[in-house]
Symmetry: D2
Subunit: 341 residues, 4 copies
């Protein structure tokens, strides 16, 4: 059986495991106050060219989104998101659990446009009953999106501009950030993201870590006592150094980008094969998530040999599905999949 | 200046004021445990032909929706609503404040269809990632809707059937229920509503009371300690008897329906005049809220003589507006408005 | 039967009812944006000698506390209160429903001391694990307290000083504020309260209004969009002018103080009689709530002729009970009660 | 420097690390649906002699408490705890963040007594204003407690009896459960805990795992869709198998108990030395947390050579401190500490 379901099916990159093993018997203070976390913070600030940024380490993506969003919004504020956004669809209401509405706007291949945000804000401010409505308080985007697509530098700048025009902090969910940065299509570097966004997170879980996300805050938009806030959300890891060890490994000698590029190369092989065989793409293939449309026979046949996500039934004979590569994908498996197609 | 902004611009029907005055110096226990509330409960149960119903008295509409919805849902559940629903648009995130998502579905003139609910549930249950999504836990409708439109008996029955098929309690926001019941188009009686819905509220604020809503629960779908739940939401009126006095007055000698019919007759006069003058309706005029489309000149001219709600700018020269009649609307004012049109 | 259970057993003072009746047919905009609310705000600012204060009108006490506290605290902050405080005991967890802990400190006849607050803060700041604890974010007191007792000017000033030393806004629950201001023991005027507290509310429900509380914010400690915040809590009255009419009546020609003094005079008659007959007081009788200790026989006898609150069983033969007078208490009833004692 | 601050200063037991390494490249489905979690569930059910128990895997203690408590309580219910309980003191308001009050009762060496619970419930039910109060909905205990003390079988049975008499599910926080089970004083086995408690968790983070807690539910007291509930709390680990691998290792060949006994033996050496040197104990030393009282000079001297928790300043010259041993404590370090005493 070939596995292309997701990018969190294996453990961690061997270099990460090795460092965890090497440091296993050291005694360190808890709750991300240790020296490994300190070093990882420095490496991340440097990679972002943002020496003043605050960096917090968390365990998973939904948790990070919940912590980040609720650290910015006032009680009566909501977060604008593409309606396809992870916070709006696949986090079981974690944002609402903190008391806030997700204000879903129509998306374009999973992306939110500056125009959509600008129009929503103009309409909101002109509305006679605005005081009776949830006030937009920040904007959430994911990069790559839930459809594997990417913002261009121009698109991100436009979003950032409209957000700042209306006083809305811009937050980027970077669960798969490495795969976005490594994509050949991308003209966005980490320093651009740090410059245009007020907050973002660098995903570890899906990019070589056992688990972990690094939340980066580049402007003073969040609560002051973030550690207490994180503790209250049940999100403060006791052995915080596990996160420090992992992120300092990933951000040493370019490992994070190196393994991201591998996943993108694997995705490229698959994309090329799909294109040459005339498969229909459900979203433009830009990163490590490839969405295609399968007819019933092909779907049934592929299911016998590979695991992947069934996304959406489009009509009686057509279904969209997702194949995902990762740092752990082996070229042999990609070739085996290609020969099945 | 003529006032057609809303149905909560005046105080209470004179009969209600009179009863409040007559009972003003009596000493009664608090928190809706008094005999007036007891009597009002009996009158409402009788009017609904539902002798077993639980009845709770609250102060306002948003508060009642918040109390009702959060008394039914489990933490991870959300409430399905037309995306135009009051809970989704004009309650400042009161539902989200209790931790729950509003799952907005496309509406038809403000109404939710049984088909839309059925399709949403079928898709949800077929979704591979349903466990990571907000689970639909109940259905919210308003009757009349935010556009003044009405469910037919057939439509309500279909909704009720699909809800019960999927184990979803059906809740009706009856902020303007009297005006719905009194509408000539309506084939729905209070007893039908009590039979098809698991919970609903009978609006007082907009239908002759100073303030107050009566929440009726016809099946055991809500929390057991409702008084504690209401207290926790800051919604338990100390001098609860004020609600009992008002509702017992409104439900004695058919007053609630009598004053509702007056508002509907006033709306009918206005509708007829609008039709005969060729005005475009933004939604079918069925109750006491009349939505029409005005060009800029007419809008500017009317604004000099009357107050009303500006709903939505449709294009450069067209705006939808809302005129509302109520128990307090005087025929002379309607005629004066008509002569302005 | 004589009624001394509470100060919310009757309707409103006749002057209030009269104004509600006079204004009943006027058409006004909703949600406390009308001219009556405007006038009431001005009268209250003047009475507080605080021309810059923000004033918001709400319906009840628990609701006002919930709105006020959640408008000040950050998510990870809690509110310090005497452990006997209303927010800690008798609001069914309304503060916790907004996500905040009530940090209960030992009380002295229902009062919180500056020393207790100072010690708590010093300990908190010295605690190695403070970051893992709820951060104190404001201080709640009630005046009169739940035991009918009063802060002196000196005590309030000391509390205010310690609060401001530690950056904690001071909030006073004034459900029975009139009765406190009118007490012969009191050296605190409304302007002192406005000066020492950052927020407080002037109770209407228990002091002559049908319902209603006026939340006064004297320093910029609360959320900016308070109307949206109030709406989200289900606490924004549609016919807001009812609150404006009531408070403008109560604050015209000294009515609020006049009716408060009446209640205090009635309580004084009762207190004198209790003292002369040697009854044991459970708390110092300072305002309109009189707590005494009864043996079983006397308790049983009095219950046959009067209603009052049974507070706490102290031992096999002794129970503390509460008698309450109000603006509506008639001297004849007090005398009748006295002759029963 | 010697480290006795806590039991989460090192990584994981070598056997756990080895299994993580062995399984690192396997592809498994996410979110604790994998076979390793399945096996771990079976091993835990067997160890508890509770074949029907539900078992969920979470990352940390505060998170587990938050998920567990909010899965049982209705909105208006609170959780009874010793006022020294972890949920009441050191979780930054995580329970309140889910909308629930912690009802703190006086403790005895960190333990809650059946009498205290019984008296609280009797008083609550007899209280005239019980409907206005937070309703007790469950009972939280920790074992070992925050003071390292233990419930006896008799004490736990009495608590369980009073809980069930009043319909309150009993929940045990077992962050350090292994150290409790391994204590020579203890007459409680895992099967007793599973029998007397409705829910409890088996701590991994402090007992040999990198991280992880196993929540065991022995009676149907919790929400049905627990995975969705966990996801909503941001607590569902993507690579859930990491938890399955760890717990299946800990529950194979008695490893969990073996490493727990080691920590207890280390604590015993230290306790004997402290006793023989006449040190004052702040709480009875029963498990791996040893609380003693130090004078200023000894405190200053020890701080130069060892790290440990400073608990509470008792008076000008006396401070309580805590020394903690764990699975990772080396006998040489204990001896070095002893020679410092």
């Amino acid at each position: 059986m070939l596995h292309f379901d997701s990018d969190y099916m294996e453990g961690a990159h061997p270099a990460v495991m090795e460092r965890l093993l090497q440091t296993n018997h050291e005694s360190t203070p808890g709750y991300t106050t240790d020296a490994y976390c300190g070093k990882a913070r420095e490496l991340i600030r440097k990679a972002c060219r943002c020496p003043e940024a605050e960096v917090y380490f968390l365990v998973g993506g939904t948790q990070t989104n919940e912590v980040a969003v609720s650290s910015v919004l006032k009680p009566y504020e909501g977060v604008i998101s593409a309606d396809s956004g992870h916070v709006n669809q696949h986090e079981a209401g974690a944002i609402e659990a903190t008391g806030h509405k997700v204000l879903g706007l129509p998306h374009k291949d999973g992306k939110l446009t500056a125009d959509a945000v600008g129009k929503y804000m103009a309409d909101f401010l002109a509305d006679e009953s605005a005081e009776h409505m949830v006030r937009p308080g920040m904007v959430y985007i994911s990069h790559p999106t839930e459809f594997g697509t990417l913002y261009s530098l121009e698109e991100l700048k436009a979003l950032s501009d409209v957000c700042h025009k209306y006083g809305l902090p811009l937050y980027m969910d970077g669960a798969r950030l490495g795969y976005g940065l490594a994509a050949p299509d991308s003209d966005l570097g980490l320093e651009d993201i740090a410059s245009f966004c007020d907050m973002f997170y660098i995903g570890g879980t899906k990019v070589g870590a056992l688990f972990g996300e690094a939340l980066v805050i580049t402007r003073p938009v969040a609560l002051k006592q973030m550690i207490t806030h994180i503790k209250r959300q049940g999100a403060l890891l006791a052995k915080g150094r596990l996160l420090g060890v992992q992120f300092s490994t990933l951000f040493t000698d370019g490992l994070y980008m190196k393994i991201s590029r591998h996943a993108i190369r694997m995705a490229g092989l698959l994309t090329d094969a799909l294109k040459s065989r005339g498969y229909e793409f459900f979203a433009p293939p830009q990163t490590n998530q490839i969405f295609i449309v399968l007819d019933n026979d092909t779907l049934a046949r592929l299911k016998r040999h590979a695991t992947f996500s069934v996304w959406q039934k489009l009509d009686a004979n057509r279904t969209s599905v997702r194949f995902v590569t990762s740092w752990a994908t082996e070229e042999g498996d990609v070739n085996a999949l290609i020969s099945l197609l």
